[in-house]
């Protein structure tokens, strides 16, 4: 059965060579695009693969290298990167690197002339270089301008259309839209006069500007060419005018901010207050979810713990919510809670705007999660009920305990002990139950006041998503800091759960 000897070696060499070649190509192109970290990672991966599969001393590595490479690339690196991002001022307006930001500031630092002049133009080529044919209709002046200089034309030299816009002139070749897009013609600054130049605004219009800012690399400042103001690196990802702190240049860049994002979690009330209320709701939501799912599941398990008629039918119907893909179920429930067209309002005969009112929205979230999760606790509780030795229950009954006492004094405590790791795991899972919140309510209802983006049903993870991707101001630095915080919370809950189950194992 097994392929042995030379054939196996040949196949191995071929596969390793193929993968190495593939990764090498990727490394090269990553290097060419200056993604040095990724290039280095790929290079190390190539080295590790070849070393592992051609050396005789790396037996364990042969088994887990593919797993380790995937884990490090797509789990460990993103985690570490999250930690790094959390120490950066990394948000909309401060998204790019500093060099790129300087380039953009220079490109954006344009000052129109006093008349805001704009001309009809035709983009094309003149004497082998990019050029525009400009029609200054008001002054009946026409000229061709390249990046270096301009060539005045007489009106009888040019071919005009009905609006007196010059379309053609000898020696000038117009370019069509796709040729312009594929060349640099649209980004060239065309000569206007000593101070001013013309930029291409769209295919037919050029506007007159001059450079308003100058970058002085040796001092790392921007200097205004119009007045004497200067802009300094404020150490927080922006060039700011020292005389007027509200006067800063855009865009900024992502800059190390060390613990600023973490400090903001505690000290900036616009961050802290929503965070605290979201945190409280997260805990309430996860607790209520586990409580309701568990109590309904347990109630069912108790009810169906006896071989009554139709038990199998009950059981096969009851697992259905759990067997459905949860994404679909959540979306379906979302439709059912629709105010005008939803079945819930129709049956209740009510007119409730479920997702516009905080209390109703929260109730809906818990109810839907109950539907999604009670079958799970029904299944595990009925399993555990059977694991409780019947002698214990009989002994309690003989000692004179009534059924209620047997349940509350014997069954329930034992069950809680058996199921506590699962209850904790479920709590940890629901603590981060992003899909439910995002797909059902989207975190809302939210009040759009003062940039406030925390919604009434937002849990920490959906709030973090909202900060990173949802609003107008995307703050990846702050979102990362909250992510790290959530990780510590969830990890400690889960570790507690693991320890509990360990303790349990040692007893049984």
């Amino acid at each position: 059965m097994l392929i042995r000897g030379k054939v196996a070696t040949t196949i191995k060499v071929a596969i390793v060579a193929l993968i190495s070649a593939l990764l090498l190509t990727l490394t090269q192109s990553a290097f060419a695009k200056k993604e040095y970290v990724i290039a280095a990672f790929l290079a190390i991966a190539i080295f590790a693969i070849n070393f592992t599969y051609f050396s005789k001393r790396t037996v364990p590595l042969k088994f887990f290298l593919p797993g380790i490479l995937l884990l490090s690339a797509f789990v460990i690196t993103p985690i570490l990167y999250t930690v790094v991002m959390s120490t950066y001022n990394y948000k909309t307006g401060n998204y790019i690197g500093k060099e790129e930001a300087i380039g953009r500031i220079k490109a954006l630092a344009l000052e129109p002339d006093e008349n805001n002049s704009a001309f009809d133009i035709v983009v094309g080529k003149f004497q082998e270089s990019e050029a525009i044919l400009v029609s200054d209709i008001e002054n009946k002046a026409y000229f061709i301008s390249t990046s270096e200089r301009r060539f005045e034309l007489l009106s009888d030299q040019v071919e005009l259309d009905e609006n007196f816009v010059a379309q053609r002139v000898n020696g000038f070749t117009p370019l069509d839209a796709s040729e312009i897009a594929s060349s640099k013609a649209a980004t060239v600054r065309y000569f206007y006069n000593k101070q001013y130049f013309i930029t291409v605004e769209n295919l037919n219009v050029g506007a007159v500007f001059r450079q308003s800012l100058e970058y002085l690399p040796d001092q790392d400042i921007f200097k205004s060419l119009i007045n004497d103001s200067i802009y300094r690196d404020n150490g927080n990802g922006n060039y700011v005018n020292p005389d007027d702190k509200s006067d800063f240049l855009e865009p900024g860049w992502r800059d190390p901010a060390w613990f600023t994002n973490y400090v903001r979690l505690v000290s900036d009330e616009r961050v802290r207050d929503p965070l605290i209320s979201v945190f409280i709701w997260t805990v309430v939501f996860a607790t209520l979810t586990v409580l309701t799912q568990f109590s309904f599941g347990l109630l069912l398990a108790l009810a169906l713990n006896k071989p009554i008629r139709g038990r199998r039918i009950y059981r096969s119907i009851l697992v259905l919510p759990y067997a459905m893909p949860s994404v679909m179920s959540i979306l379906i429930w979302g439709g059912m809670f629709n105010t005008e067209f939803g079945a819930v309002n129709e049956i209740l005969g009510s007119d409730i705007a479920w997702f516009q009112d905080p209390t109703f929205a929260r109730f809906a979230v818990i109810l839907v999660n109950l539907w999604l999760g009670f079958p799970y606790f029904y299944l595990v509780s009925s399993g555990s009920l059977q694991a409780i030795p019947s002698e214990l229950l009989e002994a309690a009954a003989i000692d004179g305990a009534n059924p209620r006492q047997v349940f509350s004094k014997v069954t329930l405590p034992l069950l809680l002990q058996i199921l506590s790791p699962l209850l904790i795991a479920s709590f940890a899972f629901n603590f981060n139950n992003f899909n439910l919140i995002y797909l059902l309510t989207g975190g809302g209802p939210r009040e759009q006041l003062d940039g406030e983006i925390a919604g009434s049903t937002d849990i920490l993870i959906s709030y973090t998503y909202q900060i990173a991707f949802g609003s107008n101001l995307q703050d990846l630095g702050l979102a990362s800091a909250i992510s790290v915080l959530i990780f510590f919370l969830v990890a400690s809950i889960s570790l507690y759960g693991v320890r509990k189950s360990k303790v349990l194992e040692s007893f049984t």
């Binding site: 990727l26 192109s29 990553a30 993604e35 037996v59 364990p60 590595l61 088994f63 887990f64 593919p66 797993g67 995937l70 789990v75 460990i76 985690i79 990167y81 309904f296 109630l299 009810a303 009554i308 139709g310 009950y314 096969s316 119907i317 697992v319 259905l320 759990y322 067997a323 459905m324 893909p325 949860s326 994404v327 979306l331 429930w333 439709g335 629709n338 939803g342 079945a343 129709e346 539907w371 799970y376 595990v380 399993g383 699962l422 795991a425 479920s426 992003f434 899909n435 995002y438 993870i461 998503y465 990173a468 990846l476 990362s480 959530i486 990780f487 990890a491 889960s494 759960g497 693991v498």
Partner: protein, 283 residues
Amino acid sequence: MTKWFRENLWRHITGTVMCLFALFPLYLVLLSAFNESGSLQVTSFLPREISFANFDVLFNDERIPYLTWMKNSLIISGFVAVASVVIGAASAFAFSRLKFQGKKFGIQLLLLIQMFPAILALSALYVIMERVYKFAPGLGIGTQMGLVLVYLGGAMGVNIWLLKGFVDSIPAELDEAAKIDGASAMQTYWQIFVPLAAPVLAVVSLLSFIGTFNEFILARLFLIEVESRTVAVGLQQFIGGQYSENWGPFAAGSIIASIPIVIIFLSLQKYIISGLTAGSVKG
């Protein structure tokens, strides 16, 4: 009679009420899938007529490439299910059976990593894959290949951890005997471990299939083009747009999409529940 009443009536009432609660949304979806009016409403509890108009929209409307979405979902989930178990099983075997330096540290790290929900690293993943896109447009953000790689990475932690548990339960005497007979680690793995663990590997890979099929947020972030979406993202975007009027086709679509998952789940029920009691929760 009264005794039966006292003993069993509450059991049937509880069972029936909860069954109704469980069935209600499902019945409603079924009703609207075969009804032309196209909203999640109770027009009547029994269908007056059975119409296939919604299925017709689903399969023939050019704005909804439903079959493509379904195909995408099945291919992506299927590939991840197989590849993640092939790779994960080898790692699990090494962690469970082989001796090497740093093993204890590795296991602890693994435990920690598999607790870190992928969503927390979402922004980092996004930024990284955005950079990958710059030099390898076939692998970065916006591509199914990139999404599959991210899924594979994410599946590693859980799968290795889950499979390690199963490997641990295979008696060590078996591979010790093989070792005495002169088998190398590779031979032990292929000839003893893989045949023994085959059913377990199948179960874990089907679980992985369900998990990937159900994954929403990474797919939402990665797959921008309509044609490349998975069925979960496609359907969500589809009803996100205009409200009430798309519910009919949506109901039809979600029924078809749910069928494979429900079948897999019901046939694996026994394993899934024992796996769940081992402490993992279905996503």
